[in-house]
């Protein structure tokens, strides 16, 4: 890398005083982009072009809007999952937490008719579940896998209990508008997902919290030795994931017009798949935000395209499985 930088000291000269570091050049930055992180965006572009040639309507603004709309919930969940995976953890409870938050929203709304309060309760519920996950993992010293697996079950059980097993209609202009109105094909929901994506990117790369998150994922010991409060950082990552689940719940209720205690397992698997397709190492320490989001869009566009082609629904899980493995093959880690 550095050898392309003319101002860097030549290897071998010694004892070389390191020069004042220049801002990295565009070429340097490009050179340091790792292939795993480009695989998902590249595959997404390939897919869009391929489907677009086969079926020009696929790229019509209307359909692009439909895809973005379909992707919004997954995008928000993927942001949270990315934070957790960056710390070398995993959140298997994202989808259940979303369900629980949706129920919290529905119950609050049906009792108070205040959509604002209902949204707040949904978000608080998500954060609370996330914090509980984080506490069990750090203070309880139980592996993330089993904590969030247990929470997957517990949260969906709680959702059933609170909802008494029944869906609640949430017919509210504000919520419905979220997923319908906006700026052309960019509905409010999509806009929210995009804004959160930008914020997540800035959080990860421009704040000290982001650096600490990556440090914890890279090496808990080293991070701790450097004065990072590793437990807090982990808890924060799960809390972020929980808040993303809460936000996704708001979009979900807006989209389906009701809060339902049914589990949304496919969101879990898709969120993990998108993160891994996005080249985020499951071993932690290396992450981007853009690539997992591209992974989420890839999965969504794939199903949209297959649906448009009228491919029997039976072939869709097969196609998704093959694409996930193929994309991971492109993005496979060096280690």
């Amino acid at each position: 890398m550095s050898t392309t930088d003319p101002t860097a000291p030549r290897a071998g000269t010694e004892p070389g005083v390191a020069p004042p570091a220049p801002r990295p050049t565009a070429r340097q930055r490009l050179g340091s982009v790792a292939w795993p992180e480009v695989a998902a965006p590249a595959a997404l572009v390939l897919l869009l072009v391929g489907f677009g040639i086969a079926d020009p309507g696929f790229l019509a603004t209307g359909n692009l809007g439909a895809m973005l709309q379909a992707a919004a919930i997954l995008m928000v969940l993927v942001l949270g999952q990315t934070f957790v995976v960056a710390t070398a953890g995993i959140d298997l409870s994202v989808a259940s937490t979303m369900t629980l938050s949706a129920i919290a929203l529905g119950e609050t709304y049906s009792r108070t008719s205040s959509i604002l309060l209902a949204v707040v309760v949904a978000l608080v519920t998500g954060v609370a579940v996330g914090v509980l996950n984080g506490l069990l993992i750090t203070k309880g010293r139980i592996t993330d896998f089993i904590v969030t697996l247990g929470m997957l079950s517990a949260a969906s059980g709680l959702a059933l209990i609170v909802a008494d097993g029944k869906p609640t209609q949430v017919i509210d202009r504000f919520l419905l508008d979220l997923t319908v109105r906006g700026f052309g094909i960019v509905t409010w929901a999509v806009l929210l997902a995009l804004v959160l994506t930008v914020l997540a990117h800035l959080l990860l790369f421009r704040t000290s919290f982001g650096t600490h998150l990556l440090a914890v994922g890279g090496s808990v010991r080293a991070a701790r030795a450097s004065g990072v409060r590793t437990d807090r950082v982990k808890i924060a990552a799960y809390a972020l994931s929980g808040s993303c689940a809460g936000t996704a719940a708001v979009l979900l209720v807006g989209r389906v017009g009701a809060s339902e205690p049914a589990s949304n397992t496919s969101f879990l698997l898709n969120s993990v798949a998108a993160v891994v397709l996005g080249g985020v190492s499951l071993f932690g320490g290396r992450a981007t935000i853009v690539s997992p989001i591209a992974g989420a869009l890839l999965l969504t566009a794939l199903v949209n395209g297959l649906t448009r082609f009228g491919l029997s629904e039976f072939y869709q899980p097969l196609a998704v499985g093959v694409v996930v493995i193929a994309a991971a093959f492109l993005a496979r880690f060096d280690r």
Binding site: A18, S32, F209, A215, S226, G227, V228
Partner: protein, 269 residues
């Protein structure tokens, strides 16, 4: 934080007592790793700790650096009695440590490692906005101040050689206005040239008035670099010597227990 602060460690008059540990104890579950940890660190001097594998050297170091919480004993830094609950607190009083495993985050860049845990940023708390340009420039200066050859502060640590990593860890320890720098077996895995360079760095820091602690199995190195040496055996500090006038065979005898030593360390030579 300004650039100048990093470059000028608080100089103390040579020989001033910076730290004194007495009777530190520490167990890991059933294992009593440290039974009686004593140590003195003085400004402008290199204090070595020697002892066989499992003697408790790294455990003692851990208690000084805040990585471990000692079970008992007393630790004074300057005039104050302290008790660390984490590495941040040790850092706050000016104790920096280069761990046996270096404790660098492989996946982060050099400048990020140098600033880890004390990022320079606008605002407060975990959401403060990183001043990346300033940090990168300053990091280059910190690394440069030790006259070591690190390719670029933008390189990820996992791309560096053993010697280069050691240099980054040392630059981090030295560059923060620290008063005491602890090095746990810094040259165990290094070649001749790299070892020489690290020893050079140690002496440079000493000449800046810092107190250095050097854990090493290499007695030649200890005699070459250190001013004082503390000997540990089975979790106890069993001897304290000035290196002047001490020979390699003396150290071997002390470490293996061939000679009986009065336990309370002799006063500073």
């Amino acid at each position: 934080m300004t650039a100048t602060q990093h470059e000028t460690p608080t100089a103390a008059p040579e020989g001033e007592l910076l730290l004194r540990a007495s009777g530190l104890t520490k167990s890991y579950g059933q294992v009593q790793a440290l039974r009686q940890g004593d140590l003195e660190v003085r400004a402008g001097r290199v204090t070595a700790i020697i002892g066989d594998n499992g003697a408790g050297k790294s455990t003692l170091v851990g208690c000084l650096s805040g990585m471990h919480r000692s079970d008992g004993g007393e630790l004074r830094v300057g005039d104050e009695q302290v008790s660390f609950t984490g590495p941040q607190q040790a850092r706050a009083v000016g104790i920096e440590t280069v761990y046996q495993d270096l404790a660098l985050v492989d996946t982060l860049r050099v400048w990020q490692n140098l600033y880890l845990g004390r990022e320079d940023g606008v605002g407060r708390g975990p959401l403060r906005w990183l001043r990346r340009g300033a940090m990168r420039a300053e990091a280059a200066r910190m690394v440069g101040a030790l006259a070591v050859n690190v390719p670029s502060v933008d390189a990820r640590v996992n791309g560096l050689s053993g010697g280069q990593r050691q240099a980054v860890a040392l630059a981090r320890a030295a560059g923060w206005g620290s008063r005491i720098v602890i090095l746990d077996e810094p040259t165990a895995a290094l070649g001749v040239q790299e070892t020489a360079k690290v020893e050079e760095m140690i002496l440079r820091l000493r000449s800046q008035g810092l107190g250095l602690v050097l854990v090493s199995h290499n007695f030649d190195q200890v005699l070459r670099v250190a001013d004082d040496v503390f000997v540990m055996r089975s979790g106890r500090t069993v001897a304290h010597r000035a290196t002047a006038g001490t020979t390699g065979p003396d150290l071997v005898a002390l470490v293996t227990g061939a000679t009986v030593e009065p336990r309370p360390p002799a006063p500073d030579a």
